[in-house]
Amino acid sequence: MRSLAGTGRLLALGLRRSRIMLVVWVYALVAYAASTAYGFKTLYDTPASLRDFVAGINGNGAAVAMYGRIHVAGSIGGITAWRMAATGGLLVGVMSVLLVIRHTRGDEEAGRLELVGAGVVGRRAPLTAGLLVGVVANVALAVVTALALIIIGLPAAGAFATGLAWTIPGLCFTAVAGVAAQVAETAQAARTIALAAVGVAYLLRAVGDAGRVAWLPWVTPIGWAEQVRAFGAERWWVVALGPVAALVLGVAAYALVERRDLGAGLLAARTGPAGATPYLGGPLGLAWRLQRGALLAWLAGFAVYGAAVGGILKGIGDLVKDSSSMRDILARMGGRQDLEDSYAAAMMGIIGMIAAAYAVQVVLRMRAEETAQRLEPLLAAPVRRVRWSIGHLLFAVAGPVLLLAVAGLTAGLADGLRVHDLGGQVPRLLGAALVQAPAAWVAAAIAMLLFGAAPRLAPAAWGVLGVFLLLGQLGPVLRLSQVVMDLSPFTHVPKLPGGEASATPLLALAAVTAAITAAGLTGLRRRDIG
């Protein structure tokens, strides 16, 4: 097989280049599975509470659409596998797509493939190596997940079935990404195509599960993951569907490789306007062009997430009423109102964290512009650094407000329609979402301070956000002391809806934001660029 010459070396290179990304993905997904299993184990420790939980979920259309239907009802393992199949399958699909595109079309577009392609590398080797990176990631993920679940005390067969169920969407979308990398001429376009396939698979499954269309989940790899029925009577043959479908798609990808030139794709890159519109005349116009695509995608995501949260709100009390520890945790996260309100407040806290992630990403975009040397030509024009920075900072300030408003609105609409109180629930949940904005700003301001004063450390802003997330999610479970909890800006956000609304902490957070941002801008003005 001369066309595969060099595959081993390329695979080793790919695994080395992505080692951090691989470890982070596997770690995050294993932690998701393990913490879910552990949480369920502590929350539903009696058969009665477990039964109520299952009945509550399967009776709630929005929850079924989001997570799928619970098929294996009688055990902690069963509901863990249920929770992992659809949402986890979605994430595993995203991981596979990002990895494979990075090592196929991404390398090709950047010209790195040309560099290695001139060496002893067969025609099919780069694609094979890229696909193998995805396969390695999925196999490692399946094994580590299974081991983690066994350590928590779940039966070994079910644990392996849960891990292997993830390889179904994992391998399928590895192959889908392999095809997309041949079809599109740019990594961006290839990612869009493959991620759209992941999204469609998740949605078809959601429609099938919620609408009780029995055959629909069988059409998509994420649906297959649900059909493994881990911890019940495991259907091992379903696990084989993943590699089989991946093989079929893989053959298509190889056929495309044979028919195209290096650098070319089936879909040629689109051309654009020969001149700029009047809006693209300064730093703000440029920031809008660079940030708008991501903002629109995030807005869509927040709209869906808000609707999902709002949709499962009614009746959430029945799900947790028999679990005293769950009630306790919700009260600590969301305040001591009635259960539905404290659940909504806890969910809004999570949405606020996600909005903060958006804001941090907006700020770090500036660092990316700097290291890519796209900042230099702008600053060589009559553009002051602070003016350039403010163009992006506007998105970090207005973006979270907009995102939270959309999520609050869709949550209010979804819940209001179900409880027949639109006029009441829309403003309540809208307000509950919007109070998160100042906390998200603080995270963005910290990112700005790092970017301005210690640019090499700018990615540490993600670490800071991670600490806030841990404090917010684990703090209530671990009963951390209030002094530690107060370190996170999200601790200071009023627990709405239902809790006491107060403007003082919000104004304080806004003032902290302004002070930290000003320090960051001063650092940016004084330091070397590049």
Partner: protein, 301 residues
């Protein structure tokens, strides 16, 4: 009239590396000034200080009579810059980038833009990610030449251009000179510098080792001489300024410091000259003289 660029004793360190070590550079108004040096010698660092992107650790830098670190916006209105490695925004077209950079400097003439696009044979409708290295450089060149400024700072602007486009570039620089504009051309393509520059500064390891007109600099280097004589020469090899002499009977090959040429020719004529070839020093030789102990692999003619 004040100098367009006047730099003296410039020092810049990055951690332990001393990128600039007392660099001097003077560019007079209206001249095309070649800024020569191998990779890593400090050309780009100097330019970044002149653009106010980096702050110098010591020394002075004046640009168009102002302070490059403090007077950023007023100075940048009067200059255009082409980086050595042009990176474009992946989702903006070349035409959009040219318009954006032009508008940041207060707008440019659309006719001039169209003319330059045609001369450089650049398709402005492609997205940034679809351009080759040479075409990305053309985008930056068109943006710079289309703007109405006093000073052009070009940092290795032609490293990705083919010979035809190199030709177009040289003509554009000539036109800029005729319009009275000042150009700082950092390069290691010596033929380009020889063809375009009024004066050159050669830098090495963050210091200026040579500065002046090409004629002045040539004077400092060696001329190669090959001669067929009537009788074997006498005492030629021991003359001051003679290098690598190779005398085989009446055939002589040698290199001589150009300011010692007189003495050598007098010696040759005394022996009777039958044929004589003399080659003046090229810029390449000039250049290599300063870098004999460094790898000359980066130099191209």
């Amino acid at each position: 009239m004040t100098d367009a660029i006047s730099v003296s004793g410039l020092v810049k360190t990055f951690g332990r590396t001393r990128a600039l070590d007392g660099l001097d550079l003077t560019v007079r108004p209206g001249e095309v000034h070649g800024f020569l040096g191998p990779n890593g010698s400090g050309k780009s660092t100097t330019i970044r200080i002149l653009l106010g992107l980096l702050r110098a650790d010591a020394g002075t830098a004046r640009l168009l009579g102002g302070d490059p670190w403090r007077d950023v916006t007023t100075l940048h209105r009067r200059l255009a810059y082409v980086p050595g490695d042009v990176v474009l925004w992946p989702n903006l077209t070349g035409g959009e980038v040219i318009d954006l950079l032009g508008r940041l400097r207060g707008g440019h003439d659309p006719d001039r833009k169209a003319e330059l696009l045609e001369r450089f044979e650049l398709d402005p409708k492609k997205k940034g990610r679809a351009y080759s290295k040479g075409n990305r450089q053309k985008v930056a060149l068109v943006a710079a030449f289309a703007s109405d400024v006093e000073l052009l700072i070009l940092d290795e602007p032609t490293s990705g251009l083919d010979p035809l486009m190199e030709e177009v570039f040289q003509r554009c620089v000539e036109e800029e000179r005729e319009r009275g504009r000042t150009v700082l051309l950092s390069s290691h393509i010596l033929s380009e510098v020889e063809a375009l520059c009024d004066r050159v500064s050669i830098i090495r390891r963050g210091r200026t080792v040579e500065s002046g007109t090409l004629a002045e600099l040539r004077h400092l280097t060696r001329t190669s001489i090959t001669a067929e004589l009537a009788s074997p020469p006498d005492g030629l090899t021991t003359l001051p300024g003679v290098h690598d002499p190779d005398v085989q009977g009446t055939r002589v090959r040698l290199e001589v410091d150009t300011d010692r040429l007189d003495e050598v020719l007098r010696h040759l004529t005394r022996a009777g000259v039958r044929s004589l070839t003399s080659t003046p020093p090229t810029l390449e030789q000039l250049f290599l003289r300063h870098y004999e102990d460094e790898a000359p692999a980066g130099m191209t003619r």
